[in-house]
Amino acid sequence: MLFSWRMLVLFIHVSSVIVALGGSLFSTFALTPILAQELDPATRLKVARRVIRRLGAIVLTALAILVATGLLNVMYMGGVTPLLAIKLVLVAIVILLALYQYGSVGARIWRHSAAGPDSIVGPLQARFRAIGLTVGTLVLIIVYLSLGLTRAGLGIQLPDIG
């Protein structure tokens, strides 16, 4: 069947992962190095602080959608396995880290860079990047665990009623 509610929920769930992970990876590995090479420090900071704010909104929204659709997926799966429990704990850690990244470190970068380059901004940006990489790694682990749940037969074994 091409359409079912379960498919739609799964589609939104996977899309959220792509948006959250893809946005972070693009910012870390593509945008930031190019900004460092092409722009002078003042302009780079101006662009970077706006990217941080906008990316924060995108990543946090994607993570929230991920949780909502994830809970629906659990209902569709019809069981909670130890692997799924580990995955859910990792999801909670990812959201907390993302909130810290954008709500605390990102907000401080935004505030301190309002008047132009500041000596405190450099270390904050390094911490922002480190947390971003940690979040990205954890999301990749979550994706791997999801594959274990759905493809490697480590999820719930539903009886064949067909």
Binding site: L60, L71, M75, V80, L99, Y100, G103
Partner: protein, 188 residues
Amino acid sequence: MASRDRDRRLRRVIRWLTALAIVVGFLTTMIYASGAHLAIRYANPEFGAWWDTHQFAIMEASASALGLLIAMRCASRLVENADTRRRAKVLSLLISAVIAIPLSHAVASIARLGWDGDSARIRDFLQAVADYGVGNILDKLVIGVVYFLKSVAFAALAGLALYAIVVVILVGIEKSDIVPEQHEAPLP
């Protein structure tokens, strides 16, 4: 100074609500799991009948509220700006009050999903350690407590998602400090 007072009041309200959710959740879980509603029914048949009908909903609502409050308290520590943090707490509290009941239905059905067949082993162990009758009661209590904790955990996950959305909304509507020249020029 005024904002600090508001912060303190809000923290007190959230602490009070958390304590209320814990007490109500603990009592309803214990009564529900041990079958003590029969005693209430014996003492006051009318109230006992009402309690029997609603005790599960009360247990689930308190578990959902507790999960949402725990998530809010943990997540709010990670927001740096005091004003944003206070507004996020207020908005989260309001939204939580609206979604607590519908969320409790969803959380109840998710928490009902089983782990595996180990529950029989736990029952056997409790019956071996205690008497058969006491073991049965203990087993029901364990099931009730695990169910309550699972509900709290799933609600906390939903609460984290809610807080993330609230932070996005608040940061989005915060006054931007971008100077007007940076905006695109208006069309003639």
